[in-house]
């Protein structure tokens, strides 16, 4: 298909662009297959303003006789306005944007066309594979192995080709256990805690159904994890009522009698539509210009966003506590095992594991626990908070993760190797990106569509020297200790950097970050080196 079919008017002169932090400017607007390009004719800044069409969440047009106004509400929460001379041009531009921004064919998306000079398609796509990850963890080699049982994605379409499972469980058992788990997502290892020798695993719900079906192989698999003698915890991210109801539709939970030694706890985490609506309400509240504190706090409360943050951190804290304090292994799952389970398991790892708190470690965690583990990014992030389109599978689970990570970093400002700008960058990239990392819903889809051959990997790009500098936390001082977040309401704050990033308030905070950066890197560190050089 040709993009030009969608472009009725490619160029319009004398368009006025209004956007946050800038004076309205007059220039030329150009629509291409993937971008809106606005260039300031003879203007001061040589660089044109570039907007990825994919970033546009909602478009509102107000045509009048001789001109028209288009308001663009973006997935990164920025709101722009274009004043376009000529009603016809206005309508043409609007309709082009509408159709081009909602193209759904993966191979037509911009990452397939983006060819930056600093990256090569020959590079390895992604940071690491299951095998490489396994190879680095020598201490688990006795008890755990890499299974290729899913090499052709036939056991679980949403799992990567290789997963880590108990040594004593063979592939045949895995295949059978997979049939007893929704989407074939049988329990796999995601984290091994060296001090206690216990693990965090994740899966989807068991398909016990109304008749309380059992699966010997699934039971064996979990038994192998706790070795029969110990205790293990299953953290179910649904309420016990929800888990009970899931049986009516073929799902279910692990009953005590079948899974000896496993104790089940329920923590209800919202997902899907509830979470999406929460984000919509929050963004609406943040954009509300009426100046009454009463309405603000009640809207903030009403969005429930911070409650979701609280529940997610608290559940992750519980998982980490089981592992680190109590010395017991944990299995996390909800229903599909592609959303809240990933949220909880990755937050628990950040709490426990200093390696996951470095810049590279954190990106590696995201790659393993979200990209490879099959979080359906394309479905979840098709639209953001402004879209008027009827919701289908959208849910900001990944944004919720980033918010929780921000809360952790706020409470432990020295413990993370990465900085707030990285989280903000990821929050933007997950919705609209030059890179292929967040395309598709699973590893299988990425293979089929050629994402790994024909697009670049965001994570690799972020680890290039100059990017690394920008996204590193200048205050970072590695700690080997667990970082236990406070989940008390006063400890959890609205993430201004994201939700209010287009206000002046955020601007002052960015300035402060720069001062901190200078303070540490320009004044302290070089001095330290100087002293060392002159010493002796």
């Amino acid at each position: 298909m040709e993009f030009s079919e969608h472009i009725k008017t490619a160029n319009v002169e004398d368009v006025v662009l209004r956007r946050p932090f800038y004076q309205p400017t007059k220039g030329t607007l150009c629509v291409t297959g993937h971008h809106l390009i606005f260039s300031n004719r003879g203007g001061d800044s040589a660089r044109p303003f570039l907007l990825l069409l994919r970033n546009i969440d909602a478009i509102e047009k107000r045509p009048s006789v001789s001109s028209g106004t288009i308001t663009l509400k973006c997935k990164d929460l920025c709101v722009l306005q274009l004043d376009i001379p000529g009603m016809e041009e206005c309508l043409n531009i609007a309709s082009s944007i509408e159709s081009l921004s909602s193209l759904e064919t993966v191979s037509e998306m911009y990452p397939f066309f983006y060819r930056p000079p600093f990256l090569s398609l020959q590079d390895q796509w992604g940071l690491s594979s299951t095998e490489q990850h396994y190879a680095q963890m020598k201490e688990i080699h006795d008890g755990w192995r890499v299974s290729q049982v899913n090499r052709d994605y036939s056991v679980s379409p949403s799992y990567p080709p290789a997963v880590i499972v108990p040594h004593s469980i063979d592939d045949e058992t895995l295949v059978k256990a997979a049939r007893f788990r929704q989407g074939g997502r049988f329990p796999v290892l995601c984290y091994y805690h060296r001090e206690t020798g216990t693990v965090i695993m994740r899966s989807s719900q068991p398909l016990s159904g109304a008749n309380r079906k059992r699966c010997r192989e699934d039971e064996l698999l979990l038994q192998a994890v706790i070795d029969g003698s110990e205790l293990g915890y299953i953290i179910d991210t649904r309420s016990s009522q929800q888990a009970q109801q899931a049986r009516m539709t073929g799902g279910g939970f692990e009953s005590k009698s079948c899974y000896r030694g496993w104790k089940r706890l329920h923590r209800q985490l919202e997902k899907g539509k509830v979470l999406q609506e929460s984000l919509i309400k929050l963004v609406e509240a943040c954009g509300d210009q009426s100046h009454s504190v009463d309405r603000w706090l009640s809207k903030l409360e009403n969005s429930k966003w911070l409650s979701h943050v609280q529940t997610a951190l608290s559940t992750a804290g519980l998982v980490a506590e089981c592992v680190e304090r109590d010395g017991h292994s944990v299995l996390v799952h909800g229903s599909e095992g592609t959303d809240t389970s990933l949220l909880v398991s990755s937050l628990a790892q950040l709490i426990l594991d200093p390696d996951s708190r470095t810049l590279a470690g954190f990106l590696g965690l995201l790659e393993r626990e979200w990209v490879q583990a099959g979080h359906p990014f394309q479905q979840r992030c098709a639209h953001s908070a402004y879209s008027h389109v009827r919701l289908r599978h959208e849910a900001p689970v990944f944004v919720l993760l980033l918010d929780c990570v921000w809360q952790l970093a706020r409470q432990f400002p020295l413990a993370m190797g990465f900085s707030e700008p990285l989280l903000l960058r990821l929050a933007k990239e997950v919705y609209a990106s030059d890179y292929g990392t967040f395309l598709c819903n699973s590893d299988q889809e990425r293979c089929v569509t050629g994402v790994k051959e024909r697009t670049h990997c965001l994570f690799q790009s972020l680890l290039r020297a100059n990017e690394r500098q920008h996204y590193s936390n200048p205050l970072y001082e590695r700690t080997e200790l667990a970082i236990w977040p406070s989940i008390q309401p006063p400890s959890l704050q609205l993430w201004k950097g994201l939700f209010l990033q287009w206000t002046d308030d955020a601007l002052h905070l960015v300035e402060a970050q720069k001062v901190i950066q200078n303070l540490v890197s320009q004044c302290h560190r070089p001095l330290n080196e100087k002293v060392e050089n002159t010493d002796g």
Binding site: K256, L265, H266, L300, Q310, W484, H508
Partner: protein, 654 residues
């Protein structure tokens, strides 16, 4: 006379689970709790003047609980074995915390033996004459008037006041008779860039129709003292309804028809009673144990506290715009002109003038707009046993406004949050003489400068603790006028103050502390560098002579923040919170142990933790407080009782 009760338990009010056993002492000035059987001496000191309320609760089998709430938001719950002892402690503490006379206050006995002359001199550190001359006064527009010498015009005003050059003694006298408590319009802040001025007064005694020619002339004189404008704003900080109600009592507000060249404006800040109740409601929310997010946000909203803070900042912004952008002078008043007026004038000053964003500047500002202009500290902050309806968190709100601004402009303030919290603490502590009494006249009569110490010199001596490491005198945020956003989302709950003793909710690591340590280390490094370079120079000079470099001279002690966690005197445990929501369900083998993995955060400076300055010492049991998350177990089947899976219960009970 010292009272002593043994086997008292101090309950950790944050988790209400952990308790320590020890001995309770009541001295003339402090309540002291000394924990038994600890390797390090663990003491909790509470100054009697900081006690807000003492509540004896119903006896239980374990003893008689006594709840002590402090004005600095510390809450202590003691359980005293014998009801009789509890009764005695209760009565004594009530008596000790509510003195009848100023002379009983702590400042008169605190460090009383120090050199009289030194103490006297220390008071000169903050000098208001110097402050007015810093503003450029007196000049050809404003003059110092002797009208209130010996406090003969207004006994709540300072002796030295600045008025327009053209204001004659009869005009001042006449105007003062037409204003509540004689508080005639006088200068608070002069903006030398454009000659606009912030003036302050009390309400006029206008009733429904009364006029006063001298008062009208007084305002006219203020207009004329700003050569570039032909009118002024009169800002009444009260809600319009309140101001109108005052007219029935023969007071009220200026009639625009009677005063030529004024524009009248209400800003609607609520009165002291509304503020007192609002704080009370907010504290109930902040003290709740394990509240849900919704409970917290709803409670915060219904307390109205942030709305009131916003109202004060909004008023400050209005005045700042009038002065800096329009170049128009402003007269601010409320009823008596010592509460809302003080708030609004001082917030405007902070916004207008970078000087008030420095340590010394804030001291000067509080000294000028609050202390000298007769904010009734002893009434509002409950120093003596008095009318509870006079108590109100007025200066507290000002300090919070400054904090909210500093959160919005992190590089604009030379002082840090701790400075504001320390001032808040001492506004109530009565340890220093600065805030004793209700006006200058009272303070002079009490001989405070002869008999007590000044807080300002103490703060200045310890200023390194109060410096904001992000402050840059040359930063764009620091320069000139601050123009804050006042959208509702700019106002946050100030946990560091209102949950000051609930360490668990604070960030576990502090950026400020880290940067302060870095700054200190940078200084050390610079010194070392200089010393190394000196050495190298020496080496080069001595050339072939054998030089034995003493390496230990350069031994760089580890940075403060890098101290090992084993250093428990400064370490604060970081342990899991209550993630299970039911007070812990896990049977942890680690629960009785000291947290091995405590993560260090920097505590308050040692200076403040020493018993020599006991009022600021925090609960000594900080090192262990976090363990409470696991230490009290609810029945293990509590969770599974609700479980639909029937055989689960059987397992859990086993």
């Amino acid at each position: 006379s010292e009272r002593k009760v043994e086997n008292v338990r101090l309950i950790d009010t944050v988790t209400s689970r952990r308790a320590s056993v020890g001995t309770l002492y009541l001295t003339a000035t402090h309540t002291i709790f000394v924990e038994n059987e600890t390797e390090i001496l663990t003491e909790t000191w509470v100054l009697h003047s900081l006690v807000f309320s003492v509540e004896k609760q119903a006896s239980t089998t374990t003893g008689c609980p006594l709840l002590v709430r402090c004005k600095n938001f510390q809450v202590l719950q003691f359980v005293i074995p014998q009801e009789r002892d509890c009764h005695d402690v209760h009565v004594s503490l009530l008596h000790l915390s509510r003195p009848e006379h100023y002379e009983e206050l702590y400042c008169f006995s605190y460090n009383a033996n120090s050199d009289r002359e030194d103490r006297r001199k220390a008071w000169d550190f903050i000098n208001l004459k110097a402050e007015y001359s810093r503003m450029g006064l007196p000049n050809h527009l404003w003059k110092l008037t002797p009208a209130n010498h010996h406090y003969k015009v207004s006994d709540t005003y300072p002796a030295d006041l600045y008025v327009p050059k053209s204001a004659t003694p009869p005009v001042i006298m006449g105007s003062s008779k037409f204003r509540s408590r004689g508080r005639f319009p006088t200068l608070s802040y002069y903006y030398k860039e454009n000659h606009a001025a912030i003036c302050r007064s009390s309400q006029p005694l206008s009733g429904f129709s009364a006029r006063c020619l001298e008062d009208e002339q007084m305002l006219e004189a203020i207009v004329r003292s700003n050569p570039r404008s032909d009118f002024m704003y009169v800002v009444d900080t009260r809600p319009k309804l309140n101001a109108m109600a005052n007219r029935a009592a023969g007071k009220g507000y200026e009639n625009e028809d009677n005063y030529s060249n004024i524009k009248f404006h209400f800003v609607g800040i609520e009165n002291i009673h509304v503020m007192r109740n609002s704080l009370q409601k907010m504290l109930e929310v902040s003290e709740a144990h394990f509240p849900s997010m919704s409970y917290f946000l709803e409670g915060l909203e219904s307390s109205g506290w942030l709305k009131h803070i916003k109202a004060v900042v909004d008023a400050g912004v209005f005045i700042t715009k009038a002065i800096a952008e329009e170049g128009i002078s402003v007269l601010v008043h409320c009823s008596d002109g010592w509460d809302r007026t003080a708030q609004v004038c001082s917030v405007a000053s902070v916004l207008l003038d970078p000087y008030y964003r420095t340590l010394k500047g804030l001291m000067v500002l509080i000294e000028r707009d609050w202390v000298s202009f007769g904010h009734k500290f002893s009434h509002r902050n409950n120093h003596l046993n008095g009318d509870p309806k006079e108590v109100s968190p007025v200066i507290d709100q000002f300090l919070e406004c400054v904090w909210q601004l500093s959160e919005q402009f992190p590089c604009a303030f030379e002082y840090n949050e701790r400075f504001l919290i320390t001032i808040h603490h001492h506004v109530y502590s009565c340890q220093y003489g600065n805030f004793i009494g209700n006006n200058q006249k009272e303070r002079t009569e009490l001989g405070l400068q002869e008999k007590t110490h000044s807080l300002w010199t103490y703060l200045w001596k310890n200023r390194t603790d109060y410096i904001n490491p992000l402050y840059r005198p040359d930063h764009s945020q620091t320069q000139g006028v601050l123009r804050p956003l006042t959208a509702p989302y700019c106002f946050k709950f100030w946990g560091a103050l209102y949950n000051r003793f609930d360490r668990g909710i604070h960030p576990r690591q502090s950026v400020m502390e880290y940067l302060m340590a870095i700054r200190e280390e940078t200084q050390q490094l610079e010194e070392q560098l200089a010393s190394h370079e000196m050495k190298i120079l020496n080496v080069e000079k001595q050339q072939k002579k054998s030089v034995n470099l003493e390496t230990n001279m350069f031994d760089r002690s580890p940075a403060v923040w890098a101290s090992p966690p084993s250093n428990s005197s400064v370490g604060l445990a970081n342990t899991p919170g209550d993630y299970s929501g039911l007070g812990g369900f896990l049977k942890s083998p680690y629960q009785q142990k000291e947290p091995e993995n405590s993560l260090l955060i920097l505590p308050w400076p040692q200076e403040l933790r020493k018993p020599t300055d006991p009022d600021l010492s925090t609960n000594g049991d900080d090192q262990e407080s976090g363990i409470a998350g696991l230490s009290c177990l609810s029945p293990p089947n509590e969770e599974s009782a609700k479980d639909p899976d029937s055989d689960e219960t059987a397992y859990s009970a086993a």
